[in-house]
Amino acid sequence: MSASVKVRRQFPTSKVMWSVIGWLVVFVFFFPVLWMWLESFKTEPQAASSPPTIFFAPTLEEFQQVLSGDFPPYFINSAIASIGSTLLVLVLGLPAAYALAIRPVKRTRDVLFFFISTRFLPFAASLVPLYLLARDLQLLDNIFALALIYTTINLPLGVWLLRSFLLEIPPELFEAARVDGAGFFTEIRRIVVPLVAPGIAATSLICLIFSWNEFFYAVNFTSSVAGTAPIFLVGFISGRGLFYAKLAAAATLASLPVLIGGWIAQKQLIRGLTMGAVK
């Protein structure tokens, strides 16, 4: 009774006011994305006009140009590097997380600390030797070598996240499986995988986001053959003149997978970004 009275009293003033302020702030932050989308549906003269064109007849011309041009191979490279490294993170990370959560090894804390410290080791630490190694093994501009590097970036995060999900499984379930005589791999396959499927999905999402958007290693270790989507965008810095609509179309396409994935899995996003600390 009193609650409904309160809502009615607050409704016209504070809720409307705060909503307006909130939406203004959100609009400011979202605007560059919106503007990118608008630009991508313009023609080149409309995109590079002064004053800026606000009202126009949308065209898919630039998207067609980008997709029929040299963009698709870069996009496919991004997919190979991201998906390949994510799979490898799961293959290496799931057993490791298991050993740190279900039947914990001694000094678990130290091991965890070690893993996560490598995530925040600056790339300056290992860049030069890795570059020289890749050069000597003829692995520069090789998309699978890039996938291996992305595995390094994501593995520590993957181990932490997967562990935080494994810790939520009631230990009795494992006891029950062991009493039934299930071996290690049966235990993994029958109990762990189905129960941590949401955790695996969240971990994969974070790994995919980080490797899809990665630029530093991509720009230094690849060029024309194994270049990923961000490398395609580098071409727009200066060399191609005023191709703003084409740039916007390419930027939209390059950002789309992560944007959609992140929007769908917003809950998992926070947990992944904080390595499981915030649920």
Binding site: K15, S19, I21, G22, W23, V25, V26, F30, P32, V33, W35, M36, E39, P52, L92, G93, P95, Y98, A99, L100, P104, V105, R109, V111, F113, F115, I116, S117, F120, L121, P122, F123, A124, A125, L127, V128, P129, L148, L155, F184, F215, F216, P230, L233, V234, I237, L242, Y244, L247, A250, A251, A254, S255, V258, L259, G262, L269, I270, A277, V278
Partner: protein, 310 residues
């Protein structure tokens, strides 16, 4: 009797070996990941330290020469590294400081009674998800460009119509783009903290006569403090490594105005091909990052311990 004692001795022995075997069985699943990480991070880092004592330019064959601490001595005297360290600190402090404050403000808005919370949050996290290289280019070419950009056009009435932000105020431009990207990150973490708050406590404070501001300062803020710290520390570990937006917006320039440590490393290693010098920069970067990371990880662990106690 003797047979029983004998079997007892055997049992002790097997128990020890079984325990050892069990310990290794526990470790076994950990090993592949462990070995992989050591191979691709620890051994290269040792090599980086090793190379840092040599003068070695990839473009000059046969230039591999032991020079002791020369590379480090040059770092101390060289103006570039001092500028790069300063730029890294300015960029990180500015980006984290502003985005934490903005993130707290937006999170508070999204946690209050407003229309369309879910959609607001969805749109709000977009800047963090957009590919950083794409975001930086969109800012540079379509928003900040002095001729065709939207922002100079909108600022014309204020006399700022022909300001070339990227070239005249390069650090401001880089900070702006990075704040745009990291505010949603802070907002997400802080919002999770606000949502863990028990609304009855706030209600009780209000009954006791506290106004909104007092309630926010005395009750909400202490509660979200760990989340603020977590966001700031995790964020700074990422922002210290900022490379994409600098490459796209300013390429470290004009001059060295926006060259931070990662970008200097890139210039020395991949534009100058000075392997020894780049390695010395790498070692210094590791030391600086370790200091921040230690603090960050301690915070992370304390949050984890709180979780475990609950």
């Amino acid at each position: 009797m003797s047979s029983i004692a004998g079997s007892g001795g055997v049992r002790v022995q097997t128990a020890a070996s079984v325990a050892r075997r069990a310990a290794w069985l526990r470790r076994l699943p950990l090993l592949p990941a462990f070995i992989y990480v050591i191979l691709v991070t620890q051994i290269p880092f040792l090599l980086t330290i090793y190379y840092s004592f040599f003068s070695w330019n990839l473009l000059k064959p046969g230039s591999f020469k032991f020079t002791g601490l020369d590379n480090y001595a040059r770092l101390l005297t060289d103006e570039s590294i001092r500028i790069a360290v300063l730029n890294t600190v300015v960029l990180t402090v500015a980006v984290i400081g502003i985005s934490v404050v903005l993130g707290l403000a937006v999170a508070t808005l999204l946690n209050s009674e407003v229309f369309g919370k879910g959609l607001m949050r969805t749109l709000m996290i977009a800047p963090f998800l957009i590919m950083p290289t794409a975001g930086a280019l969109i800012w540079k070419d379509t928003l900040l460009n002095p001729l065709f950009g939207l922002l100079p056009y909108l600022l014309t009435p204020f006399g700022l119509g022909r300001v070339d932000w990227v070239n005249q105020y390069p650090m401001v431009a880089v900070v702006a783009v990075e704040v745009w990207r990291w505010t949603p990150f802070m907002m997400l973490i802080i919002l999770a903290g606000l949502q863990s708050q028990n609304p009855e406590v706030l209600e009780a404070a209000r009954v006791d006569g506290a106004n909104s501001f007092q309630a926010f300062r005395r009750i909400t803020l202490p509660l979200v403090r760990p989340f603020l710290e977590l966001g700031a520390l995790l964020g700074s570990l990422f922002v210290v490594q900022t490379f994409d937006s600098i490459y796209m917006l300013t390429f470290g320039g004009p001059g060295e105005d926006t060259t931070n440590i990662p970008f200097l490393l890139y210039l020395v290693a991949f534009q100058g091909f000075s392997i020894g010098q780049a390695s010395a920069i790498g070692v210094v970067a590791v030391i600086l990052t370790t200091i921040i990371a230690t603090v960050a990880l301690r915070t992370l662990f304390s949050i984890f311990n709180v979780e475990a106690r609950r």
